[in-house]
């Protein structure tokens, strides 16, 4: 069990058994009761959507878009096929929550998807699973088989007359396939490249049909909302930030892993749950929402609560809830170099600013890190990121730029030192100590 801790948990309750992912275990935990209630009572579709709206469940994939609102965009009167897609292409560095949900509680996602399909009238769904976590894919397939055998999927679900087919689909590890339209292209068998929007997936999605795409964790929360009621779910979190959320804590903490906490929980509590800073060192900075969210320096971070609005106010994003903790041994230039390399490597190459810009950013940061920095490089970084941001087809350009801008903004001295002295402000032995592979000497 890789969910290491929880505070008032909802999503991860009762996952203690060694076969928690089995259907019978899930049913014992009251699983599929929400679905049964909806189908048996023939709950109107609008009522399901309203309940989700009331919960103020915000998309757990990163953008935090209100789920109920997204569902209401699906054309109700559309007579042809409609699709429902679950985005489990969890590729953002630092994020590993969907992996654990699918490994330990796959039926919650399946139930959530069936309810969503019912609410939007979709007859077919896909769960697009990151290709580099094969075990997750095979486990989800097993769960699908169980659900199908139990009459929870397929034709005439539980005798209600409602049909929903659900398929697992694995990618091959391209980060860009986590972008919803690139994901759709990939399911269609094409090269994973984002589409220009508009049209949005709700009107022109998979195979050109109306499609709704939600994150794994979002779907997993749906049965809870339907059981508890939207208002109760909202109250378990914070105003405008309903429910609990899984946070993937990584970096310089003693117990990196997934933690479920109510939205609005103070960051120090999360840090404490993760065992505190490794070696008792000082927090230097934190990336609160996955590698594409701007870094937040320690002083600001310690005052934040973990919810969409607070983190946004701190100048960053809650994103997917991937908290990357960095202590005082971290060279921020080196950290940014690694991040920039990731975005350069994962840019799909379709549109100019991202294809050319991510490469340029990486080259500049690489140059600074390797003692080749020039005096005007920091201005150049700023200018290149400005030229990328807001000018690309999808958000990857922004995702590559925001770390650069925030690292330079908050740790400008460190960058300037690198350029001037051709070496790091944090001595190499301290860095090595902080890496965890050497005995701490700080």
């Amino acid at each position: 069990m890789a969910i290491l801790g929880a505070l008032n948990p909802m999503l991860t309750v009762g996952l203690n058994g060694d076969k928690a992912w089995r259907l019978d275990d899930y049913v014992k935990r009251d699983g599929y009761s929400a679905l049964k209630k909806i189908l048996a009572g023939k709950m109107p579709q609008d009522q399901v959507i309203n309940e989700v709206k009331k919960s103020v469940l915000r998309g757990r994939g990163g953008a935090g878009f209100p789920t109920g609102l997204k569902w209401s965009f699906m054309p109700r009167a559309f007579s042809g096929d409609k699709y429902l897609v679950c985005n489990s292409d969890e590729g953002e560095p630092g994020t590993f929550k969907d992996r654990d949900i699918l490994l330990f509680n796959p039926h919650s996602v399946i139930e959530g998807m069936i309810i969503a399909a019912y609410a939007m009238g979709a007859a077919r769904g896909y769960n697009y699973i990151h290709g580099e976590v094969w075990e997750v894919y095979t486990r989800f397939e097993e769960a699908l088989d169980e659900a199908l055998a139990a009459g929870l999927l397929g034709k005439n679900i539980l005798g209600s007359g409602f049909d929903f087919e659900l398929f697992a689909h694995h990618g091959y590890g391209a980060y860009i396939c986590g972008e919803e339209t690139a994901l759709l292209e990939s399911i269609e068998g094409k090269k994973g490249q984002p589409r220009f929007k508009p049209p949005f997936p709700a009107s022109f999605g998979l195979y050109g049909k109306p499609t709704t795409i939600n994150n794994t964790e979002t779907f997993a929360a749906i049965p809870l909302i339907m059981n508890l009621g939207g208002e109760a779910y909202l109250e378990s979190g914070k105003a405008n930030n309903g429910g609990t959320k899984l946070f993937s804590v990584s970096g310089h903490v003693n117990r990196p892993g997934n933690y479920e906490i109510p939205l609005g929980t103070p960051f120090p509590i999360l840090l404490e749950m993760a065992g505190g800073m490794r070696g008792g060192r000082e927090l230097k900075g934190c990336i609160p929402g996955g590698s594409s969210s701007p870094v937040v320096p320690a002083s600001i971070m310690m005052d934040c609560t973990m919810d969409y609005d607070s983190i946004s106010k701190a100048g960053s994003m809650l994103g997917s809830g991937a908290v990357i903790v960095m202590d005082e041994t971290t060279c921020m230039v080196k950290a940014l170099e690694r991040l920039s390399f990731f975005y350069y490597e994962e840019s799909c190459g379709q549109c100019t600013p991202c294809r050319e810009g991510t490469n340029w950013l990486y080259r500049i940061v690489h140059r600074i890190e390797n003692g080749q920095g020039r005096a005007d490089d920091l201005d150049l970084l700023g200018s290149v990121t400005t030229n990328i941001m807001g000018r690309t087809i999808c958000a990857l350009g922004d995702a590559a730029s925001m770390p650069v801008q925030s690292f330079v903004k908050h740790f400008r001295d460190e960058f300037a030192y690198h350029i001037e002295h051709k070496k790091c402000l944090v001595p190499p032995d301290i860095q090595r100590a902080g890496s965890g592979f050497f005995k701490a000497t700080v």
């Binding site: 350069y344 379709q350 100019t352 050319e356 340029w360 400005t386």
Partner: protein
């Protein structure tokens, strides 16, 4: 209609328009690379970013739909900053090797870099290097580092050519345009990718490094190849044609041309060009002066009319000849007392002659094809016979028009077909008759006599249904239908199907002047193009044809020519020396060195001027025939210009010819027997279709110019005991040729596909008809 304001200019645009559409309407230029009006929107270059009021970010003009009351600023600070930012990104990895780049001077990137690029680069790292590729003889991909990834070429392949031969592999800055590993670009429309490429990544292999764009004079011309009459810009340097580009004409070729139109110019500069008149003396051809040659021809023709009568002379023109040439040819022949003149050497069945209501044509305007609800093409190698006509049908099928094809091979037209029937040439009439019968049954109309025994299959019913639904439908008869031994029957069946369904019908036409030949009345009153060789004459005048390659039965044609006392060839090229039938060679000029007119398949008259001076002593065909008329003292040959000749045929300033009518009268249906033996299917390969393409070395290196093989389906191979790859002897009566057998499931059973118009099959007989195959 939506109101929009662009840079302060008001406009109204239809709903669904983009900002780019609106900008073009008001005349505001928005810089762009990936946008192309004929291709889908990619929005990937980001050059067209503009400011939209109330939008926080700059929006791509090509992909942003206009909303009512939208205000757009194309030159505001936000817009120009964004555009300059994109330009910087485009240039950081671009080699900037303009001085040695073939695109220099006509490069969109170069042009826009002047306005939006910096004077120095802030990028100081090493630039990306992209490995070059060899994708065949026409398109050069030698400098792929210049590519800016606009994917126009990729979208062209997917959407216009119908086959994705290029794609963008890899991701991030390592993305590169390439073919599937080891494959070449073989589309018959591939050259358009060179035009589409906004930089010097895709260039023309035959043209590259031969001239700079600013050294070339641009002259208008008309393609002499297929029946579309594509509008061309011919670029000339030092009186030599260096390059051919499309001249946009939305009603004909849109902004495309086929590779045949584009690269055939290489034949103009061929070493095989005939530059001096020649006369056969003591068995060998000798160069002589024009007056000697013309006197010789005149005397010889007069002698023959005296001794054998005018009917001993036959004249054969080509549907690639101009209207003026064909008019003078028939006038000269009739002046000599012969009615044996024709311009349709690849025809077998002339029984419609004399029964036609008017000049056969396409039956509708080319531009109307896009509005059809359904179309049926009968007997055509669509892609290879009419690349751009096929392209129009492809677009029609893409936007839900139902296109069906009945033909003699299962070649993929790269059109998503509604229905396809593949039958042997002899069964073509039956297949069409089945659709006629299905249409009669569906409309509860009395069945025409002669079709009682036909039983419509499911596919023919599907086709008939498609032709009955919707507003506009059309039936097109292709080259195979015209060349068929039952051409008149197919014509009559198509007419009947059109009557039953309310569809239009017509002929796609074999060549640039297939309609023009009728207008010029280059038609027999005595022997037709087939009979003039079946019943050998004393003298032949050949205009622009190479009979061993251009005739329905080359073996018969060559035999007749060999026995003739006089064979006069008016030709731009030296004929095959091994076939020593020619007695006099008169060097005429190809389309670039003469004025003239073509009448395309929709009856459109397109006159053109010469774009270069005649090579050597070659002279325009109309001048040669005009002087020959004078020397022969035939009346009415006193023209001073080709325009005078044209005005004798057409009303002045005609845009379209009069008398277009596909009606056929007095022909009863008789579907003919289906014989037991093997049948030949002869296509005319795209790059052997006329003398000019046959002399284009660039086109001759393509896959489409591969030597013909004897292609049969597995069942036929098994039946004849021949294996794939075996050497076989194919025979038609006395005629035979040695070929390699190939398995090809697109060929119907009991048929052998052996291409015509190639030297290796010039010894064979009828294009369609009985054939034997045996192990060599």
């Amino acid at each position: 209609m939506l109101d929009i304001e662009i840079d302060g200019k008001q406009a109204q645009v239809p709903a669904g328009s983009t900002i780019m559409d609106a900008a073009q309407l008001v005349g505001a230029y928005i810089p762009h690379f990936c946008y192309h009006k004929k291709l889908s929107i990619a929005a990937n270059c980001r050059m067209c970013l503009v400011q939209v009021e109330k939008a926080p970010k700059p929006m791509p003009a090509c992909a942003t739909p206009v909303t009512s009351g939208m205000k757009v600023f194309t030159h505001s600070e936000l817009a120009v900053t964004a555009q300059k930012g994109v330009m910087e990104f485009l240039l950081i990895n671009h080699p900037l090797d303009c001085p040695i780049c073939d695109q220099g001077g006509e490069c969109q990137l170069q042009d826009l870099a002047v306005g939006y690029g910096g004077s120095a680069s802030r990028y100081q790292e090493a630039k990306r290097v992209v490995f070059h590729k060899d994708v065949g003889p026409l398109v050069s991909m030698q400098e792929m580092s210049r590519c800016i990834h606009c994917t126009r070429c990729v979208r062209f392949g997917q959407e216009i050519a119908g086959v994705m031969e290029l794609g963008m592999a890899n991701r991030n800055m390592h993305s590169e345009i390439q073919t599937f590993v080891g494959r070449t670009v073989d589309s018959e429309l591939s050259g358009n990718m060179i035009d589409l490429c906004p930089v010097g990544a895709l260039t023309s292999k035959p043209f590259r490094y031969s001239a700079r764009s600013w050294e070339l004079s641009r002259r208008k011309s008309i393609s002499p190849h297929d029946s579309l009459g594509s509008n061309l810009t011919v670029q000339v340097k030092d009186n030599r044609v260096m390059r051919v580009l499309p001249r946009e004409n939305e009603e004909i070729n849109e902004c495309w041309i086929s590779d045949k139109d584009r690269f055939s110019y290489a034949g103009l500069n061929s070493a095989e060009r005939l530059q001096k008149p020649m006369i056969r003396v003591d068995g060998a051809l000798r160069e002589v002066d024009w007056n000697v040659a013309l006197d010789y021809v005149a005397h010889a023709l007069k002698d023959i009319t005296k001794t054998h009568g005018g009917e001993a002379i036959a004249a054969l023109g080509s549907a690639h000849s101009t209207l003026e040439e064909l008019h003078l040819l028939q006038k000269l022949t009739r002046g000599l007392g012969s009615g044996s003149v024709d311009f349709r050497p690849r025809r077998r069945d002339f029984s419609a002659d004399g029964k036609l209501a008017g000049t056969p044509w396409l039956g509708l305007k080319l531009a109307q094809i896009g509005q059809l609800d359904a179309a049926l093409v009968v007997g055509s190698f669509l892609r290879k016979d009419h690349p751009l006509f096929a392209q129009r049908l492809r677009q029609l099928a893409r936007k839900s028009g139902k296109v069906s094809l009945i033909s003699v091979t299962g070649d993929d037209p790269l059109i998503s077909l509604h229905a396809q029937l593949t039958v042997s040439p002899e069964e073509l009439t039956r297949a069409l008759a089945a659709v006629v019968k299905a249409a009669a049954q569906l409309t509860n109309t009395a069945l025409p006599a002669g079709l009682e025994s036909i039983e419509p299959c499911a596919t023919s019913q599907l086709i008939a249904q498609s032709l009955l639904a919707g507003e506009q439908r059309a039936i097109f008869l292709g080259n195979v239908a015209e060349q068929s031994a039952q051409a008149a029957q197919l014509h009559a069946l198509a007419a009947e199907l059109a009557r039953l369904t309310g569809a239009s019908f017509g002929f796609i036409g074999e060549a640039a002047n297939s309609v023009g030949g009728y207008v010029a009345k280059a038609l027999p009153t005595a022997l037709n193009a087939y009979e003039m060789f079946a019943q050998p004459r004393q003298a032949y005048v050949l205009l622009g044809v190479e009979p061993e390659l251009d005739c329905y039965n080359p073996q018969q044609a060559v035999a007749a020519l060999k026995q003739a006392a006089l064979v006069v060839m008016l030709t731009p090229f030296k004929p095959n020396a091994a076939l020593d039938y020619a007695d006099v060679l008169l060097p005429t000029t190809p389309f670039t060195e003469t004025s003239g007119s073509f009448v395309n398949c929709e009856g459109r008259v397109q006159s053109f001027n010469g774009v270069a001076r005649p090579l050597g002593d070659a002279r325009p065909g109309w001048k040669v025939l005009r002087v020959l008329g004078n020397v022969l003292a035939i009346d009415g040959f006193d023209y001073d210009s080709s325009e005078q000749v044209r005005d004798e045929i057409l009303a002045p300033d005609s845009l379209f010819v009069d008398g277009l009518d596909n009606g056929i009268n007095g022909l009863s249906f008789s579907l003919g027997a289906v014989t037991a033996g093997l049948q030949r299917i002869a296509e005319v390969p795209i790059y052997f279709a006329d003398p000019l393409v046959r002399h284009s070395d660039a086109l001759q290196q393509t896959r489409d110019a591969a030597a013909p093989t004897a292609r049969m389906c597995a069942a036929t191979l098994a039946q004849t005991g021949i294996t794939d790859g075996a050497q076989v002897r194919v025979r038609q009566g006395q005629a035979e040729a040695l070929l390699t057998a190939r398995a090809d499931e697109s060929v119907p059973p009991a048929c052998v596909r052996v291409a015509a118009a190639h030297a290796s099959t010039a010894t064979l007989g009828d294009m369609f008809g009985a054939i034997n195959v045996e192990r060599a």
